[in-house]
C-alpha cells in the first residue's frame, strides 16, 4: 500500500467516524455567538443594494403603522382600567415587530443594533449611516402610506368617532412634550426595541422570536415611550383628523371640554418638538446603550492581548 492510498484510507475512516458521532448543536445561541451573528448581519445589511433596502424599510414602516393602528383600535375605549389597557395595547403592538423580525424588514430603530459591527470595525461609518438614513426615509414613506389607507378606509369613524378622538389626543400628547422628556422616552424606547431584537438573535425558531419580542415590545408601548416610526404614523394621522368636525366633537366629549391643539402642527409640532428629540433619543439608546455596551462586552479585542471575553 502506497503512502497516498494510506492517506486516503485514513481520511475516509476519519470522515466515517465524524459521521457516526455527529455534533448537533440545537441550543439557543449564547450571548457571545449572538454578538458575532449581529456583526455578520451588519456586514450583510451594508451590502444590500439601495432599492432593496428602501423596499424593505418601506415594509417595516407599513408593519409598524399597522401595529400602531391596531394598538389604537384595541385601547381606544377609555372605560377599561388604565394599566391593563396599556398592557393589552402593548401586547397587540408586538405584531409589528414579529412581522419585521420574521420577514427581515429594515426598521430604523432596530437597525441601530448593527452599530455593533461598526464598532467592531467590520463596516465603515458611511455604511452604517447609509443604512440608517435609507431605512429612516423608507419607514417614513411606509408609515405615510398607511396613514393614507387608514384615512380612506374611514376606520377612524369607529365607535362613534371615539377611535379618531383617541388618535388626536395621543398625537396631541406627543407634540406637547418638552425636549428632555421626549429624549428620555426615546432612549428608553429604543433600548427596549434593540434589546428585543438582540434577544431574537438567540432564537433558533419563530416561537423563540415571538416570545422574546413579546415582553420588551409590549413594555415600551405600555409604558408610553416614544418610538419615532410609530410617531410617523400617529402624528400625521392626528394632523389629518383634527380637521374633521365629528372627531373634534368626540375629542371634546372624551376630554370633558375643548382640547388645546395649537401645538399639533406639521413643521413645528411634529418635526421639531417630537421627531427631532425622539430620533436623537432613539439613536442614543440603540447605538450607545445597547450596541455599544454589547460590543464592549463581547466583540471588543483588548489592546494588550488578542483574547476576547470568556477566554
Amino acid at each position: 500500500m502506497s503512502v497516498k492510498d494510506k492517506k486516503e484510507v485514513d481520511s475516509i475512516s476519519s470522515t466515517t467516524q465524524l459521521a457516526s458521532t455527529p455534533f448537533i448543536d440545537i441550543d439557543s445561541y449564547a450571548p457571545k455567538m449572538m454578538a458575532n451573528r449581529v456583526g455578520q448581519v451588519g456586514v450583510a445589511k451594508a451590502n444590500i443594494g439601495f432599492l432593496t433596502t428602501l423596499a424593505l424599510s418601506i415594509l417595516a414602516g407599513v408593519f409598524i403603522a399597522l401595529g400602531a393602528q391596531l394598538m389604537m383600535m384595541v385601547t381606544h375605549t377609555a372605560t377599561s382600567s388604565f394599566g391593563l389597557n396599556a398592557l393589552v395595547g402593548g401586547v397587540v403592538f408586538t405584531m409589528a415587530l414579529v412581522l419585521i423580525v420574521i420577514t427581515g424588514a429594515e426598521l430604523f430603530t432596530g437597525n441601530c443594533l448593527i452599530a455593533m459591527s461598526f464598532f467592531a470595525g467590520k463596516i465603515s461609518s458611511g455604511d452604517l449611516s447609509r443604512n440608517l438614513i435609507i431605512s429612516f426615509i423608507g419607514n417614513f414613506i411606509g408609515a405615510l402610506s398607511i396613514v393614507f389607507w387608514i384615512y380612506i378606509s374611514a376606520q377612524w369613524t369607529a365607535h362613534n368617532h371615539l377611535l379618531g378622538a383617541k388618535i388626536v389626543i395621543a398625537a396631541n400628547d406627543k407634540v406637547n412634550l418638552s425636549f428632555g422628556v421626549a429624549f428620555a422616552r426615546g432612549v428608553l424606547c429604543n433600548s427596549l426595541v434593540c434589546l428585543g431584537i438582540w434577544l431574537c438573535y438567540s432564537a433558533r425558531n419563530n416561537l423563540d422570536k415571538v416570545l422574546s419580542l413579546l415582553w420588551p415590545i409590549s413594555c415600551l408601548i405600555a409604558c408610553g415611550f416614544e418610538h419615532c416610526v410609530v410617531n410617523m404614523w400617529l402624528i400625521p394621522m392626528g394632523l389629518i383628523l383634527k380637521g374633521n368636525r365629528f372627531v373634534m366633537e368626540a375629542v371634546e366629549r372624551v376630554n370633558g371640554g375643548p382640547l388645546d391643539i395649537s401645538n399639533l402642527t406639521c413643521a413645528k409640532g411634529f418635526l421639531i418638538h417630537n421627531l427631532f428629540p425622539v430620533v436623537l433619543g432613539n439613536l442614543f439608546g440603540g447605538i450607545v446603550l445597547v450596541a455599544g455596551v454589547y460590543w464592549f462586552v463581547f466583540l471588543r479585542i483588548p489592546k494588550n492581548k488578542k483574547v476576547g471575553p470568556n477566554g
Binding site: T16, L188, L195, L199, L211, A222, N310
Partner: protein, 360 residues
Amino acid sequence: MAENKTGKTVKATKSVKMAKTVKTTKAVKAAKPVKTKRAARTTKAVRSVRSAKKKDVKAVTPPPPRVVYDIDAYSPQKIAARLDAVAAVKAKDSPAVTFWLGVNAGVFIALGAQFATLVISDSGLHAGLTAVVGAICFCLGLIMVVVGGAELFTGNCMIFIGYMDKRITTRRIFDHWTISLIGNFVGSLIVVFFVYKAHQFSFYDYMVGGKALLIANKKVNLTFPAAFSKAVLCNAMVCMAVWVCFSARNVADKIMTLVFPIAGFVASGFEHLVANMYFIPMGIILKGKPEVVAAAEKMAGKTLDLSNLTWNGFFVINQIPVFIGNVVGGILLAGLAFWFIYLRPKLNFTFTIKEDFKKD
C-alpha cells in the same frame, strides 16, 4: 441470533393464529387449531432456516453507524454539570466585562420593575389578579438577563455550585459577586434617572408615581425578620428559575420556565435585592413631588408616613436584611442543596473485609 429471532416470531404468529381461530371459529373443537399450529410450526421452522442462511450471506457488510440525536431538554445531572462549567467560564471574565454585564442586569431588572409598576398602578382589578399581571410583566427583566447575557447578583449565587466543585477560587468568586452587585446598583440608578426624566410618574393623573411611592414606602417599613425571610424565599425562587433555565434548549423553553417562578415570587411580594435598587430610589426621588404624594395618599385612602423613605432607610432597613436573605436563600437553599444532590464527591463507607484480611 437469527434463529432466536425467527423462533420468537414463530411464537408470536402462533399465538396470533390461535387467537384468530378462537375468535372466528368458536364452534370448532379445540383439537383442530392444535393441528394447524403444528403445521405452521414446521413450515415456519423450514423458512427460518432458509432465511438464516440468506442473512449469513448478507451479514458480511457492516451495519450502518447508529446516529443518536440528543435534542431532549437537559436532565438535572447535566444541568448541574453545565452550571459547574459556567462558574469556570465566569472565573475568566475580566472585571470590566463583569461590571458592564452587571450594569446590564441592573438595567434589565429595573426596566421590568417599572413596567410592573405601570401596569399595576390602576387598582381597578382585585389585589390578587393585579399582583399576577404585574408579576408576569416583571419577568421582562429576568428574560433579558437569561437570554441576553448579564450578571445578576441574585442569580449568580448559583455559581456557588462551581465554587464547591473548585472551578473558581474564593478570591475570584467574591470579586465577581462584588463587581456584579456594584454594576447592578449602577444600572438600576441609570434607569431611575431615565424613567424620572421621562416623566412617567405623571401618567394617569400621577397614579403611576403614586403607586411607585406606595411600593417603595412599604419596602422600607419592613421589620428585619420579615425582610430577611421574604428575601430568603425570593432568591430561592430566583435560583430555581435559573436552575430550570439551564435545562432549556431554546429561548421559548427558557422564557416559559422562567415565567412561573419569577411571576410567583413577585406576586407573592418577596424581596429582590436588585429590584429594590430601582423601587426604593425611585420612591425617594418621587417623595419630593407634591402631586405624586397627593396621588399616593388618594390611592391609599390615608395620610402617609414617609419618614423612613430616605437613603438611610433604603440601606439599613431594606438592603442589609434583604442582602443577607438573598445570599442565604441563593447559596444555602439552592446552590448548596443542588451541589449536595448532584455534585458532592462520592464518599465510600463500605468496608472490604475480605480484601483487607485475606486468607493465606
